[in-house]
Symmetry: C2
Subunit: 155 residues, 2 copies
DNA sequence: CTAGGTGCAAATGCTTTGCATGCCC
DNA sequence: GGGCATGCAAAGCATTTGCACCTAG
């Protein structure tokens, strides 16, 4: 618990410094949203975040949620993913190691994994193509064991 | 030129077999769309495809374009990418080696590259997490040399 | 013949925007 | 106190859907 509180304090400071540096305002809304995100443990959608803030009687508008998510993405406290066609998925990123996703095309379940070799590929691609690469997203798509078992039953 | 014609004939056969197998109809519209896609050399958006078909006086509706793109994606003659937030990007995939993308976050330019090590990572992730992985998408984001040069000039 | 496909336009749903009000610096 | 931020509702925009008509099998 102490560790979580500590993390929240740290990210608030980071966000605060970022806002200052860009001469943006430190509004209560922005910090409420940041707090809500870092008290979560899952990936989430903008709309769900908005609903949960409403439930907690934190009054912010959808517009502010989207605006703040953008800011947080820019200062790398939040990562944004566009997996399927519909809503974007967000997740906190501070103190959370870089990882990638394996997604089940049947049940849409998302599992995280990590492979250090990707870093090498990233460095090489950057050098080769003369890009200053800052980040990547990698998704593997397939069928999870549960759905695979169900499929075999149906045949 | 002969090679291109040949490719078009081949993919038509593949699509035809796919439709047959799933008891779907072989309509003129579906083949017109397939033909247009394989006569292109670039990545494209659904809307652009629709506009270009209109220009060539191939009368199909947007609905049919989207429907057919879905079919072609399912039978793996087309790959669909969701890079940014907005429109999905499509590209033909037959006879076109698996590759990934490096995207400039400034000018949005997309460059292709390929690294065989990714296949190994894919295999490993699948084994580790008990997924039957069918495909992946990997994007690197960064700043291209052109934009980087511009940036330095402005400072 | 008939179920699936098409075209059209309207609907959907996520996200953004315009504008009046509020409040941080 | 000046201007950026917010809230609200309306607009945008890519994509999907409903429905009447059409056509491949």
């Amino acid at each position: 618990m102490a560790a979580v509180t500590e993390t929240i304090e740290t990210v608030k400071k980071i966000f605060s410094a970022y806002l200052e540096q860009r001469s943006l305002r430190k509004t209560a809304e922005r910090f409420s949203i940041l707090e809500e995100i870092y008290s979560r443990h899952d990936q989430f959608e903008a709309e769900q975040l908005y609903i949960d803030l409403m439930k907690k009687e934190v009054n912010v508008s959808r517009a502010t949620v989207y605006n703040t998510l953008d800011l947080l993405t820019t200062c790398e406290l939040v990562r944004k993913h566009q997996f399927g066609r519909s809503q974007a998925q967000y997740e906190k990123s501070y103190g959370y190691k870089q990882h990638d996703h394996v997604i089940c095309i049947e049940c849409k379940k998302v599992v995280e994994f990590c492979d250090p070799r990707l870093q090498q590929i990233q460095n090489m691609a950057g050098e080769l193509l003369n890009f200053e690469i800052s980040h990547h997203t990698l998704q593997f798509y397939g069928i999870c064991s549960t759905c695979n078992a169900k499929k075999k039953l149906n045949n």
